[in-house]
């Protein structure tokens, strides 16, 4: 990369104020004097610096393209029909076009996190100064920024140090986005390599964002005992004024809580959040409450409970102002990326803005000063509360809702718009006969997209009817979620590093991503519980973390109340919001650094090779929906961490699938002997969509196997895989012979069955190598 580092040293200077000696100052440069780790081969890698590594992975995991559109309509030559082997006017093929769109999506995702990080860091520097020390974990964390160290080869120490990292990220994203222009990259695998690079940049920016906010706002610092906080509709005291905050960038929410604190208003107002701002503000204050993930927006707004809505950025419904207007709820937009068409009132007096919002003279205001937002949101909510007098349960009464249902003509256009093919029209018919049961069941699987309403030929507010039918369920949504703890402690890594690398902790499962679930959020919680009981380490973040919290066992406890928050076997570790995902990839990287003592500094390929061959981590984005989810996944892929998505995930247009039947694909180099050794398809896929929760669970167990597993570890992992396959898919798996390397790998309790299969498959013993995919360059020692 080009560098902007400037370092100037002046021995002596005469000025009007006198003589100054020995001045030294730097611009765009991080202090590195305290870090003696040698620099690796790829600090600040360019978009092709890691291409060989990417192509090594892509040789095993070839793209299986699932075109979601047969056309290209990105330039005026088009639309071009790319079906089959046709080329577009620019010469592009269907595979390249699919990879190009994946790259575009990943760029959108990475740009979003990077922009978020930039806005946050700039704000925090303004507030706390550029010399504010980074402290994501106190004495428990020495490797404060593993992804930054790994990718950039620098060790940031202050908020100001993060700016250079973001300079690099922004430069890379610009170049990556340029690759999608007509007449640029046209080779599918080169485009895929750039997707991986985008993902790596995404994790870098996420790390920057989270360590900055954890440090400056004193969010939980790698704390396994982060407090349990309230989540769910039913936790809100509707007799108090209620503020709703939606989005991802927490400063306005922080200012709301600070204003309440400074004015002795804590406890008199409910501050509620949806999506990641909800998560991050509960990391700041235990008094704040989360309503739910992204899909709770419409149902909560239409409940009429919020007295004011404050939106920042990302994953906010673009029609939020329309929804709020229908209930006369004022809206404050706080991000330049999401102005909502509202007038910029940043320069106006607070009193005037509040008067306008309360009187209804304006629907909302665009205010770029978070501190001002804090005051205005609180004071407006307090004045709006009497106006909203009696809190409505909904915009319709139950009787009105039934009358609406009776207007349904059974045209089924609602069902034909529903992404989950829910039987809405049947439920409407029943509701019209005063039977809410079916509609209430639909609530559980509804993703809140309201496409049903858009399709309705009778303009029936279908989603509102679903909410009314499920009224009791909503009221009972009161759960406990462990606040996002941030990073994983170095000592935790030391304790579990060995068992993970040897396979004796069967794996790390990260439940991440959005809430576009195929069959309701309970499936995600059930998966997390299953694997926590199997002593995997469970990590959660963002909407997935919230969804898992919105589940209770027979004793009424949420998973976060059942399992400890430690990064250990059987732990349920909520790292925090979307940007906290970097702590999950960071934990994998820290295993290589802290446990295996590999150099991190600018040493991406070696560390990724280590993680790929040794760390049995699997990402599960069951409800992945967004472009950010695409870039987050891509960041895991480049580290060799497989990702499983739900059935909607096929709409990401391509999978990265291994072929277990191609033996030649599954050889590694044995670093001890230099020999090539067959290790079986571990992990078999890098990106795969599965159909059901049951299939996902079997896949998680399967993809947790790694070449480095000891026999004890492999036997344990095979036990989970076989047990789940038998229980959930009904039979023994037929590919066991591919995963057994030595007789000692065979789980003792299943020996008889497995030996019979091995005989039938003409299985032969092999060896357990010291695995690596990196070919030693000629002449290197």
């Amino acid at each position: 990369m080009g560098t902007r580092d400037i370092s100037i040293r002046i021995k002596e200077i005469e000025t009007e104020i006198g003589q100054i000696k020995d001045i030294r100052f730097s611009v765009g440069r991080l202090a590195q004097e305290t870090w003696d780790e040698p620099q690796g081969p790829t600090p600040f890698p360019s978009i092709t610096a890691l291409r060989d590594w990417d192509l090594t992975l892509l040789k095993r995991y070839k793209p299986f393209y699932l075109p979601f559109c047969d056309l290209c309509c990105l330039c005026t030559f088009g639309k071009c029909d790319l079906t089959g082997d046709k080329k577009g006017a620019c010469g592009i093929t269907m595979p390249a076009q699919q990879s190009r769109i994946v790259l575009l999506a990943a760029c959108i995702g990475a740009a979003t996190h990077t922009s978020h990080a930039r806005e946050l860091v700039t704000h925090l520097i303004t507030e706390f100064g550029e010399d504010e020390r980074l402290d994501p974990g106190g004495l428990n964390i020495k490797v404060e920024a593993p992804i930054t160290r790994l990718v950039c080869g620098v060790k940031p120490e202050t908020l100001g140090d993060l700016e250079q990292v973001l300079d690099y990220a922004e430069q890379q994203i610009t170049s990556l986005l340029a690759c999608t222009h007509t007449g640029q990259e046209g080779n599918p695998l080169d485009l895929e390599s750039k997707v991986f690079h985008t993902g790596m940049i995404d994790h870098l920016s996420m790390e920057v964002a989270d360590i900055a906010q954890v440090s400056a706002y004193h969010l939980p610092k790698a704390d396994p005992d982060a407090p349990l906080i309230d989540i769910g509709f039913g936790t809100v005291d509707t007799t108090k004024p209620v503020i709703l905050v939606i989005g991802h960038n927490v400063p306005p929410a922080v200012e709301i809580m600070d204003y309440m604190q400074e004015n002795d208003l804590v406890g008199t107002i409910e501050v509620t959040g949806i999506c990641c701002t909800g998560i991050d503000m509960t990391r700041y204050s235990q008094k704040a409450k989360i309503i739910g993930p992204i899909s709770w927006q419409i149902r909560y707004v239409r409940s009429g409970i919020p007295d004011i809505i404050v939106v920042d950025e990302q994953c906010i419904r673009t029609d939020i102002l329309d929804e709020a207007r229908a209930l006369q709820i004022p809206v404050i937009a706080t991000s330049e990326k999401n102005c909502l068409g509202l007038p910029n009132r940043t320069g106006d007096r607070s009193d005037a803005i509040i008067d306008d919002l309360v009187s209804g003279r304006t629907d909302g205001a665009f205010i770029l000063n978070p501190e001002m937002v804090g005051e205005i949101a609180v004071r407006t909510a307090m004045r709006m509360r009497p106006k909203h007098k009696k809190k409505k349960g909904s915009i319709l009464s139950p009787d009105e809702a039934i009358e609406e249902a009776k207007r349904c003509t059974q045209c089924r256009e609602c069902r034909r718009a529903c992404p989950n093919d829910l039987h809405i029209s049947d439920a409407m018919r029943a509701f019209g006969r005063n039977d809410p049961t079916m509609l209430a069941e639909i609530y559980d699987a509804c993703v809140g997209c309201i496409k049903c309403e858009q399709a309705c030929t009778q303009d029936i507010p279908i989603h509102s009817l679903i909410i009314i039918a499920a009224g009791e369920k909503l009221k009972n949504e009161a759960f406990r979620l462990r606040a996002g703890r941030g990073a994983i402690q170095d000592i935790e890594i030391r304790q579990v590093g060995g068992p993970i690398v040897l396979g004796e902790i069967p794996g790390i499962v990260a439940f991440v991503g959005c809430a576009n679930y195929p069959g309701g959020g309970h499936e995600l919680a059930e998966m997390a519980i299953e694997f926590a009981n199997r002593r995997f380490i469970i990590c959660t973040s963002g909407c997935a973390a919230m969804t898992i919290g919105m589940y209770r066992d027979e004793d009424g406890r949420s998973p976060y109340e059942i399992y400890p928050g430690n990064f250990e076997a059987g732990g349920m570790v909520n790292v925090g919001s979307c940007v906290s995902n970097a702590h999950i990839s960071g934990a994998a990287v820290k295993i290589a650094s802290i446990f295996a003592r590999r150099n991190l500094r600018g040493n991406y390929e070696e560390i990724a090779d280590y993680v790929y061959n040794r760390v049995g981590a699997v990402g599960v984005a069951w409800g992945a929906m967004s472009q950010k989810a695409a870039s987050i996944a891509a960041g895991f892929w480049r580290l060799g961490i497989p990702v499983i998505v739900g059935p909607h995930g096929t709409k990401y247009r391509r999978m990265l699938l291994g072929r277990s039947d191609h033996d030649d694909d599954w050889y590694v180099n044995d670093a001890r002997t230099g020999e090539q050794v067959y290790v079986g398809p571990v992990p078999e896929h890098l990106f795969i969509a599965v159909e059901t929760k049951e299939e996902a669970m079997v896949m998680i167990a399967k993809l947790s196997m790694r070449p480095n597993d000891t026999s004890r570890g492999r036997a344990l992992k095979l036990t989970h895989y076989i047990d789940l396959h038998r229980r959930l898919l009904g039979s023994m798996p037929t590919d066991i012979h591919r995963f057994v390397r030595l007789e000692a790998d065979i789980p003792i309790t299943m020996k008889e069955d497995i030996v019979a299969i091995l005989k039938e498959k003409d299985w032969r013993e092999t060896v357990i190598p010291d695995p690596t995919l990196i070919q030693k360059k000629e002449g290197s020692s």
């Binding site: 269907m94 992404p419 096929t650 159909e691 898919l729 039979s731």
Partner: protein, 178 residues
């Protein structure tokens, strides 16, 4: 009968499925195929077709027409409950990927499949996988036997009623000896 996707927004590209307007079309496709294969998704065991489930029709058809069966997801359990053992169990995208490989010798290793019959998968998952096959498996014919139009198959029913669907499946079965 129309060629409208069941999910209204899932419009197809320029190349879209021909309609199976009568059961003889599907029957003829199966008869002509040398190496047909069923890809059966999890919903097959949930769909009621009067006194039977969809999966029961698949089993009858597979037996009578000698069609190999790949069970995706947990469909395998439902087959086994009915004393039917599928030829393979694998994720839908995995079998889809293999079908694009002209050198793949099929689930029994005896040669490439020439006809893939999709049924019982989530609609959009079948839509995308069939799109992959439409574009990257030029020698493979595909049929969707669900009662909703799948534009990316080579042949598909229109959006038909359950009654009509049963009639079609019965007619295909009726042409074969029990």
């Amino acid at each position: 009968m129309s060629q409208d996707a069941w999910l209204t927004a899932e419009v197809a590209g320029p190349k879209k499925a021909s309609l199976i307007t009568k059961p003889e079309i599907a029957d003829a496709m199966i008869r002509r195929a040398k190496r047909p294969i069923f890809i059966v998704g999890s919903i097959a065991a949930e769909i009621d077709l009067e006194e039977k489930k969809l999966i029961d029709y698949i089993i009858l058809m597979a037996r009578r027409c000698s069609i190999q069966v790949v069970a995706t997801a947990n469909t395998n359990s439902e087959f086994l409950k009915r004393n039917f053992t599928p030829d393979a169990v694998m994720p839908a995208v995995d079998i889809g990927n293999r079908l694009t490989d002209p050198t793949w010798q099929g689930v029994d290793g005896k040669g490439p499949h020439d006809l893939a019959i999709f049924v019982g998968l989530p609609y959009q998952m079948a839509w995308t996988i069939l799109s992959g096959l439409k574009n990257f498996a030029p020698n493979l014919k595909t049929i969707s036997l669900d009662n909703v139009y799948q534009p990316n198959a080579r042949w598909s029913f229109s959006n038909i009623s359950v009654k009509n669907w049963i009639m079609n499946l019965e007619a295909i079965l009726g042409n074969r000896e029990a």
